[in-house]
Symmetry: C2
């Protein structure tokens, strides 16, 4: 079935469009009162993630409420470590916590990988199917996964960290074991994403949320090959967006992977990224989420300046997930500014 609004897909195919599409990372979330009501009715974050009809409900909310050009399935990158054998908890105001972490090669060898991991996550595919029904072909649906290194960080460190020094120390001390683990994660992510596509997602975004703690040499060694492997496998079927937050030092290597688009954080000057990847590459981003705390005039002007700077081949987004306490009016002003823009 053709989509009513296929702006995002047309940009990702390299077509010339009338204005850039817009969606926001974390658009399905606490910024919406509708989301907070659903969330309050459940025992916690993990119940929401694992309940397909609730997933569909909150995924569709920002399409109805904000008028964004794409939905992104409500889920968590940590369902993969969990399905591999490392369950996690979501601690209120603190974030994810893994009671068990990986300490050595035996722990890594004991993990599940590939299809058996993907088969554990039926609730995700069910959520996608229900979402597709609810969206009724209005906008494309984005599926996503964490990149292997970001998942590796949580599996070694067990929780968020300012430095992820345990995870990084593991890379330096046990590079061979690190590669074994990264490959097992990669195989699981690939199997998982194929099943998400089977279930109906139209686009895949890969999130390397902790890319910015590495450097060019380490990123090339421990991250690029695995993102490349995933992209190559998935891209046969749907367009792929790679968002390696903070990995400005590796934009050239990321560009060489040849994904359909690259996500850009707000620290990156548009001129810089365009000088590295050229004007034909589709880029996604990169407004500072804090701009949305500002007055409408500032939001509007900053958004227009950003669109002018990127030029064509651009998907508007923030340079990071929208912060939970962002005023809804600011978000709406951002979306409306983009929808009123013309190339």
């Amino acid at each position: 079935m053709a989509l009513e609004n296929d702006l995002l897909l047309r940009v990702l195919r390299g077509e010339k469009v009338e204005r850039p599409p817009i969606w926001l990372m974390r658009q399905a979330g606490r910024i919406l009162p509708q989301y907070r009501r659903v969330r309050a009715s459940l025992s916690g974050f993990i119940e929401l993630v694992t309940t397909p009809d609730k997933v569909a409900e909150v995924t569709i909310q920002p399409v109805d409420e904000l008028g964004v050009d794409a939905a992104i399935i409500f889920s968590d990158i940590l369902v993969i470590p969990e399905a591999m054998g490392l369950p996690y908890e979501m601690v209120e105001k603190k974030g994810p916590y893994f009671p068990k972490v990986l300490k050595n090669r035996a722990d890594i060898d004991a993990l599940r990988s590939g299809d058996v991991v993907a088969n554990e996550l039926q609730y995700v595919y069910d959520g996608i199917k229900l979402t597709k029904i609810g969206l009724n072909n209005r906008v494309p649906l984005i599926g996503f996964a964490g990149c292997p290194f970001t998942l590796f960080c949580y599996m070694i460190e067990g929780q968020g960290s300012k430095t992820f020094s345990k995870a990084k120390a593991f890379l330096y001390r046990n590079p061979d074991d690190a590669h074994v683990l990264l490959e097992k994660i990669t195989k699981s992510v690939i199997a998982y994403l194929h099943k998400k596509i089977d279930a109906g997602v139209d686009v895949i975004q890969l999130f390397d949320s902790w890319a910015g703690i590495l450097d060019e040499v380490t990123y090339k060694q421990f991250c690029i090959p695995y993102i490349n492997e995933i992209t190559k496998s998935i891209q046969q079927r749907v367009p792929v967006i790679i968002f390696s937050k903070g990995a400005w030092f590796s934009y050239k290597d990321i560009n060489n992977i040849g994904s359909n688009a690259i996500g850009v954080d707000w620290n990156t000057p548009v001129k810089y990224i365009r000088s590295v990847v050229g004007h034909d590459k589709v880029l996604q981003g990169n407004l500072d989420p804090c701009v949305l705390y500002s007055d409408k005039e500032t939001i509007k002007n900053t958004t227009i300046d950003m669109m002018n700077a990127f030029g064509r081949n651009h998907i508007v987004n923030l340079g990071h997930g929208v912060y939970p306490d962002t005023p809804l009016d600011g978000v709406k002003c951002f979306v409306d500014t983009v929808k009123g823009y013309e190339y």
Copy 2:
């Protein structure tokens, strides 16, 4: 009196030297058992910071124990907000906490600024004088301050944060008030640094620890002018090193300030920073602190590769403060590798 080891000062003056000098950010700290003993004998971090003979003792420890080419006075960037009128506590394992924060222009107007702030910090100058006596002209002594924006972050946010979204929202919502506050901080930092120089420090390092949460436009607007003002005032008397962590997008603007050296974080490829600032600029950095968790062979090879990449006009350091749980043997291997290197 001439210094026995003036390698750091000679590099900062642009002289050709036999090898790069080395010191480590946070070298006076938990990596040393001698430090941990002093710290355990006191009620807490703030007692240590405010007790001049203890300050001198821990400042000198890494010179004795590691053989580094410079000492850096043990202190905290937050003594300035405190002296301006916002006292802080250091919460074990959590970091600084300010019971009172700035909410509006009246709060900003009520703060002290300039000489009266500097006059509150006699314990710092006393610590410097005792340290100079203890060092007995062996190596130069570095003094430091936080850059205005980094101090601003704590004064608005009240504690560490992953996003500092309150502080950034303040910039966007109240730019004029933000500038008033930044200027009051600047005047205080300048008065403070002049008194540190009077007390005997040989070099000043300016830390903009949270620079990396901004972008090129905002950094140029809210940070560069104040760092420039401080540098220009201080540089008449001693060399100045600017370390704006994470502000890769602003290296050109930072370079234009014309400080004696620029600190470089570990994310920054040496080729990139050299392409921006040229080969004559003195650069300081930038080993990933996590490399020091590795085996000696890896530490040695990575350090040598880094020195080769920087070439001359280089001060060896990490790209961040050394992590508290770093093995002392790793730190010593790092220092010894540099001391055995020849251009």
